[in-house]
């Protein structure tokens, strides 16, 4: 009896147990990222599980956002339970499938949360002022796609161990994501070039200037807009600040444990038979 219990405990995927528990806790561990304009002109805190927005002291609510975040919260709790069950019973036929479903979710959520403001700030700071050429972005997308295809081919050809195949799958997916980012940026450059050849400054009335400066993911910057007003010049200064919050630190820890659990987890029974 004792030997059976010891065997059972030995087989448990402990990385997965920790990851599963963290995934269930994560939606209630606070926001991941904040965005502020001025001192309360616009205040936004967000995570994949919720958003709080207020503009000029008044709270803004969106039913669509609330429902989508509710879906994400339910999704991550289900994924956490799947990872937990899969880790506790790694030899069951369904274990690997449940692990595949849940393990990379937090990793992609964390990546998305960092990439979204990063891409947004890049578009605002570099593409909207105009003068960018498509070449760099198309080249970037092409190189990422080539490396992704090549790594997928090489992985299927040469990698035999399950953990290395899984790791390579993750790397390949990251490369696909980078290619996607380059394509999005190329589309933005094309749209700006087509409709705003002189950049966003062309939208400013005559005599006015616009100096756009947005921080990347975390930090502070100020955007200034000046315009002619009653024979004089009026200047509007918008201090913008962004930062990662404590919830994001837990997300990173969860993502690391999830990925370790996924790599470490035994494969489905059919793969074992192949061996």
């Amino acid at each position: 009896m004792k030997t059976n219990l010891r065997k059972l405990v030995k087989k448990i995927n402990w990385f997965g147990v920790i990851a599963g528990i963290l995934m269930i806790v994560l939606p209630f561990a606070g926001m991941w990222w904040r965005f502020t304009v001025g001192t309360g002109a616009i205040e936004l805190t967000t995570s994949p599980f919720g958003i709080t927005t207020s503009a000029f002291g008044q709270t803004m609510e969106s039913t669509l956002a609330r429902y989508i975040f509710l879906g994400a919260t339910i999704g991550i709790i289900i994924a956490g339970l799947f990872v937990l069950f899969a880790s506790l019973l790694p030899e069951q036929w369904w274990s690997a499938r449940l692990m595949d479903f849940g393990a990379t979710k937090v990793f992609w959520m964390a990546i998305s949360l960092v990439m979204s403001p990063l891409i947004g700030a890049f578009i605002v700071n570099n593409i909207l002022p105009g003068g960018q050429t498509l070449t760099m972005y198309i080249l970037g997308a092409a190189i990422s796609i080539i490396i992704a295809v090549l790594s997928k081919y090489l992985a299927s050809k040469f990698l035999k161990k399950l953990w290395s195949k899984r790791l390579m799958k993750l790397v390949t997916n990251v490369l696909w994501m980078i290619a996607g980012v380059f394509i999005v940026l190329a589309v933005c450059v094309f749209i700006v070039g087509k409709f705003l050849p002189s950049g966003i400054s062309s939208l400013v009335p005559a005599g006015g200037t616009l100096s756009v400066n947005v921080p990347y993911v975390s930090g502070s910057a100020a955007t200034t807009f000046s315009m002619s007003m009653g024979g004089g010049q009026a200047t509007l200064t918008l201090p913008i600040s962004m930062g990662l919050m404590s919830g994001f630190a837990l997300a990173i820890v969860t993502a690391v444990f999830s990925i370790l659990a996924w790599i470490y987890h035994p494969g489905p029974p059919e793969e074992k038979k192949k061996k």
């Binding site: 503009a55 000029f56 989508i68 449940l98 004089g232």
Partner: protein, 192 residues
């Protein structure tokens, strides 16, 4: 099966949100009210004339009007001319009613005090002391300090010898630096 679960967790909330608002995209996305619209509704109907009250000088060269009148009356014609030629300072209190629904901070304000009866520019003035914060619809007194112009002192002396300060005083060439929720607006704001 599991990929269908992922898809359902994305699609079902979207469909449910739209269904909850009778398939109205604006209400689903932004909710029932837009705070930006309601917050700034009253700015469109802003009447700057109603914002300012009682712009009369409090003290000149740190003397009250009664002391100054006695002082001026004691001067000979030559002394009065010398007085008119020399530089003088002025302090005034401007009562401001904030018509806004939200707090605002006046970081700095400057302009010219003008006697509206005879269009004489009395002084160049600026906010005395630190910035002044107004909560929504609050009324506060703003202390203004300034330097009296040559034409201004002549006009003031004429008024003072007649028994008091000029009463119909306006402010022109107003330059201000305002802080609304950390957004700083600096520039020329005309006259009142």
């Amino acid at each position: 099966m599991l990929s269908l679960l992922s898809l359902a967790l994305v699609l079902v909330p979207i469909v449910a949100a739209f269904a909850a608002h009778g398939w109205d995209p604006k209400a689903t996305l932004l909710g029932e009210s837009n705070p930006l619209e309601t917050r700034f509704e009253n700015i469109q109907n802003l009447n700057t004339q109603k914002m300012f009250e009682n712009t009369t000088p409090d003290r000149i060269d740190d003397m009250s009007s009664t002391d100054l009148i006695t002082h001026l009356q004691s001067l000979s014609l030559d002394e009065l001319n010398t007085y008119k030629q020399s530089p003088h300072s002025l302090s005034a209190t401007v009562k401001i009613n904030s018509p806004l629904d939200f707090p605002i901070k006046i970081k700095n304000i400057s302009g010219s005090l003008k006697c509206n009866d005879n269009s004489v520019v009395l002084a160049s003035a600026r906010l005395a002391g630190n910035e002044v914060s107004f909560s929504a619809h609050e009324t506060k007194n703003l202390s203004i300090t300034g330097t009296i112009t040559q034409e201004g002192i002549t006009d003031l002396v004429t008024h003072l010898l007649g028994g008091g300060f000029p009463t119909n005083i306006g402010i022109e060439n107003i330059r201000a630096s305002l802080d609304i929720y950390g957004i700083v607006i600096e520039g020329a704001f005309g006259s009142v």
